[in-house]
Amino acid sequence: MITFDTVSKHYRGQTVAVDKLSLTAPTGKLTIFVGPSGCGKTTSLRMVNRLIAPSSGRILLDGEPTDTMDVAVLRRKIGYVIQNAGLFPHRTVVQNIATTARLNGTPKDQALRIAHDLLERVGLSSAFANRYPWQLSGGQQQRVGVARALASDPKFMLMDEPFSAVDPVVRGQLQDEFLRLQRDIGKTIIMVTHDIDEALKLGDQVVVLRTGGTLAQVATPQELLARPADDFVADFIGRDRGYRVLGFAEFAKGGVPLGAEPTATLGATPETLRQIATDRWVLVTDPLNRPLGWADVDSLKGPLRDGDLNLSGTLAVEGSSLRHVLDAVLSSPSGRGVIVGQSGELMGTVTLSHVAEAIEAARTGRLGTQP
C-alpha cells in the first residue's frame, strides 16, 4: 500500500505542481495516474521514491513514512520503469536486468540466474541475453526495463509512461503482456500515463488529476466511465464512453447464443457454396477449422481462391468483452460476428440482435448494482 497524505509540491515563484494530494494505492493493485500535461502526475510519481522532494505532506509505504528513510535504501525497495527504458548502454541485457538484484545485495551468480529467468518472463528469448541495448528495438528495450525493475522482486513499482515511446501495435502487445504478468506477480504499482485508454485498459484504480495538481476523481475504470465526477473528468475521458464501457462487460459463455455457421474450405466450387449458403455470404475456414474470411457466393466465378475472401470482419475470442463481440458483428460483411476459441478455432457466430440483448442485460445488471 502506498499512501499519499496531503502531499504538495510547489516550486519557488511558480505555480503549484501538486496540491494537497491524498490517496491510497492499494496493495497488489495497479493504480494509474492520468491527466493532461501539467497536472503533476509525473511529479507525484517521482515524489514516491524521492527523485523529487515533497514541499509538504508525507508519503508512506505500508504505513512507513518515506521521508526518514535513507534515500538509496528507499529507492532499492521500489522497482522503477521509465519511458525510454534507461538501460545502461555499456551492459548486456542480462547484466542490465541483474543490476537491481545486485544493488540489493544478491550474489552475482544468483543475480544473473534471476536475470535469465526474467528474460523469458517478459517474452524475450535467451538469444538476447548477451546483446547490448543498441541492438534491441524500442519494444524489446522496454521489456528489459520491466525485467530489470522486477529483478530485485520489489513489493512496489513505479512506472512512468512505460509504453508511450513505442508504436501502437507494440504498445498493445506490451500492455497485454504486462497485464498477464501483473496477474501473476501482484505488485503494488503506480503507473503514470497521459493516455486515458491505457488507464482504462490497465488500471485497477484510476486517479484523474487536473491541471494545477488537484485530484479530480479516484475510481475503477468502470465507475469512471459510468459516473464521471464532473465535466472535467467527463471531457477528459472523451467521447464513446457508452461504447467503451462495453469493454468491461465480459461476454460470458452462454451470454449470447451462438449460431451454427456452415463453412467451406478453399477450392470449393461455386455450386457447393451455393448449396450450403444461407444467404450471400459463406464463412471460409482452414483445415483446422480456423476462420479465414467470408466468400461472396454471388460474385464467385470459379473455385474459391485466397483472393476471393473478404477479410473485413474481426474475430472475437470467446470470453473477451462485449465490445469485441459487437465489433465482430459490425465489421462482418454478413452481419454475423465470428466467435473463436482460445486457439483460434470457430465456435459459431452471433447476430446483432443477440448482442444487443446481452448489452441490455449487462446494462440493467450494472444499474441494478448501483448504490
Partner: protein, 216 residues
C-alpha cells in the same frame, strides 16, 4: 640521407626516442589523473564549470617555450632539469583534458542517470560504474589529441637542451646536415601514430558495447 651516420648514431637516437616517449606519455597520464576529479567538479557545478574551463583554456594559450623558461623560476628547478618539461606538458594535457572529461560526463544520456538514481545508486558508485565507463569514447578522443600534440610540443624543449628527438633538429640545423632532421621527423611521426593507435586500441577494448565496437 647518410645511412652510415644513422647506423653510427643509432644508440643515441634510440635513447632520444625513449626520452621522447617518456616525456610525451608521462605528462598525459598525470594530466588525465588530475583532469578526472577536476572535470567531474566542472561538470557538476555550473559556477565551477565556466571558471575551471575558462582557466584551462587560458593555460593552453601560454607559449610552450615561455613555459619551459619560466617554470624553473616558479619551481626552483635548474633550467636543464627535464622536470620542467614534464610539468609544462602536464599543464597542457590538463588544460585539454579537463574539458574533455567534463564533456565526456556530460555526454552520458540523462535517461541513464535518472534510471541509475531511481534504482538507488549512490553518487560515487554511479560515477565509477555508470558515468565514467560511458564517458570513455569522448575522453579517449580528447586523449588522442593530447598525446599527439604532446609529441610535437616535446621537440620544442630541444631549445633548452632537454634530451629527446628535437635535439636531432637543432643538431641538423647547426651542422647544416639533413639526415638527423629527416630521422627526427620520421621518428616523431611514428611515435605519434603509435601512441594514437595505442589509445584507440585501448578505448575500443574498453567499449565493446559501442556499435561497431570490439565484439561482434
Amino acid at each position: 640521407m647518410r645511412f652510415d651516420w644513422l647506423y653510427r648514431e643509432s644508440g643515441r637516437i634510440a635513447e632520444l626516442f625513449l626520452w621522447h616517449l617518456g616525456l610525451s606519455v608521462i605528462p598525459v597520464v598525470i594530466g588525465l589523473l588530475l583532469a578526472l576529479p577536476l572535470g567531474w567538479l566542472a561538470q557538476r557545478a555550473g559556477f565551477f564549470r565556466s571558471t575551471l574551463l575558462g582557466a584551462a583554456g587560458l593555460l593552453y594559450t601560454i607559449p610552450s617555450l615561455a613555459l619551459f623558461v619560466l617554470l624553473p623560476l616558479v619551481l626552483g628547478t635548474r633550467i636543464l632539469d627535464p622536470m620542467n618539461v614534464v610539468v609544462a606538458l602536464t599543464v597542457y594535457a590538463l588544460a585539454l583534458l579537463v574539458r574533455t572529461v567534463s564533456d565526456g560526463l556530460e555526454s552520458v544520456p540523462p535517461d541513464v542517470i535518472q534510471a541509475a538514481n531511481a534504482m538507488g545508486y549512490r553518487r560515487l558508485p554511479r560515477l565509477f560504474v555508470v558515468e565514467l565507463p560511458l564517458a570513455v569514447p569522448v575522453i579517449a578522443a580528447g586523449l588522442r589529441v593530447a598525446v599527439v600534440s604532446n609529441v610535437s610540443i616535446v621537440s620544442v624543449a630541444a631549445l633548452i637542451g632537454t634530451p629527446q628527438l628535437g635535439l636531432l633538429f637543432t643538431q641538423g640545423l647547426q651542422l647544416r646536415f639533413l639526415t638527423p632532421i629527416i630521422a627526427g621527423i620520421v621518428l616523431c611521426v611514428l611515435l605519434a601514430a603509435l601512441l594514437d593507435g595505442l589509445v584507440l586500441f585501448a578505448a575500443k577494448r574498453m567499449t565493446p558495447w559501442q556499435p561497431g565496437g570490439a565484439e561482434r
